[in-house]
Symmetry: C2
Subunit: 239 residues, 2 copies
């Protein structure tokens, strides 16, 4: 019926009612099946799902075993299954670039902030966590369904395909403070791995930037650093 989620599957899952409604609203053409648990309370949100499924001939299946396989510990009574979609980034738009992100929850949280501030183009440099991991989908709170994203084998491949951009690597070794730097468009804000940050070679790309903080911590948490960066560079647009 279903298998435990793995990166090489063609489908992924939305675990939960609200998330599944976001899926049906924004990626309807990719939805393959909806599963419901026998304990589901059939409220208005459920009736909406039922109606959309009926109208679009999407199978709506009651099967508790699916929940044991996909959502063991979760308090979850609706699961959406969808085909993985492809949505390349735009050349003209501003990008967030994550180099080797390793945590699915962090990635989802970053996507939620990006979409929250209308930055909808994400580049991921491999090796990296799988953006379709249901933990990422969930942490994004459905923001993934508004996102363009693209994986690259290495940073050079990205710069070759998307040239004529302004690069801003965020690094503890950077010389300029975030709120002193003039950010030109289209920009690429670049962030390293959770544990290791960016390699020193990124000092050679564009203008490196630091978010200054006290010496009582080694670094900011990755989603926090990315979100502060996004907030600072987009805030003039949100008034």
């Amino acid at each position: 019926m279903v298998k435990r989620y793995k990166k090489d599957l063609d489908v992924s899952y939305t675990l939960g009612m609200t998330l599944t409604i976001e899926l049906l609203k924004y990626k309807l053409e990719y939805v393959t099946r909806i599963f419901i648990h026998s304990k589901l309370i059939k409220n208005d949100a459920y009736l909406y799902i039922e109606e959309v499924c009926k109208k679009n001939k999407i199978p709506l299946i009651q099967n508790d075993k699916v929940f044991n396989i996909l959502a063991q510990k979760e308090n979850c009574f609706v699961i959406g299954e969808f085909n993985k979609f492809k949505a390349d980034v735009n050349k003209e738009k501003n990008h967030i670039v994550l180099v080797n992100p390793s945590n699915a929850g962090n990635l989802g949280t970053i996507i939620r902030t990006m979409v929250g501030f209308n930055l909808k183009d994400l580049v991921i440099i491999s090796p990296a966590v799988d953006i379709y991991d249901p933990k990422c989908v969930r942490a994004s709170m459905g923001a993934l369904f508004h996102l363009n994203f693209q994986y690259f084998e290495n940073f050079q491949d990205y710069t070759k395909e998307y040239d004529s951009r302004y690069y801003y690597p965020f690094m503890l070794q950077a010389s300029r403070n975030l709120n002193e730097v003039e950010i030109k468009e289209p920009y690429s804000l670049i962030f390293g791995n959770e544990a290791t940050g960016l390699d020193l070679k990124y000092l050679d790309y564009g203008q490196s930037v630091i978010i200054k903080h006290s010496e009582n911590i080694d670094s900011l948490n990755l989603p926090i650093a990315v979100s502060i960066g996004i907030y600072e560079v987009t805030k003039e647009k949100f008034k």
Copy 2:
């Protein structure tokens, strides 16, 4: 020997080498025991721990069972045990106020950002997650050991004990945008629960503030919102 962590215990735990070193550096007087796993590699970091334990007569105990009880899934070979400490907030200082935070990882991440920007006074309004939960200690990356914090039964009790302050509740219903508001000191930046935010009654306290974002998301993740707030109000001090 040890029990699985619970809120009503007098002790809590640092799971991991780096975190345990932070504990020994900043809260030495509260440390009761250090546990090591038989698989621990005795590197320089370990030798530092051994030296501090010897010098301060702290029991250093090899016992793999302790790790099964306290750190099941974690890749963890050192655990510090410490007595819970009390560290009331300062009247004169700026405060972060969290109303009913429910997630230990989120709380730890917020503490990490606070200490990162030299905001070291945290007020928590109950019901709320336990700040000594090892998941919170760990997510704080040791920043908890630099923090003053205090729990209150309700917001009124806090305002009675700490009056003469400027209150800034962060709410989606607020009228003023974060980057337009003049923040006066000593301030209290107030944030609601992860799922429900702040009750409308908080509109009556001080100057409510919104971090404006697009309509594609319902709200920002709590640690992200708190961190953006902290960044904006402290950034003049980090140049």
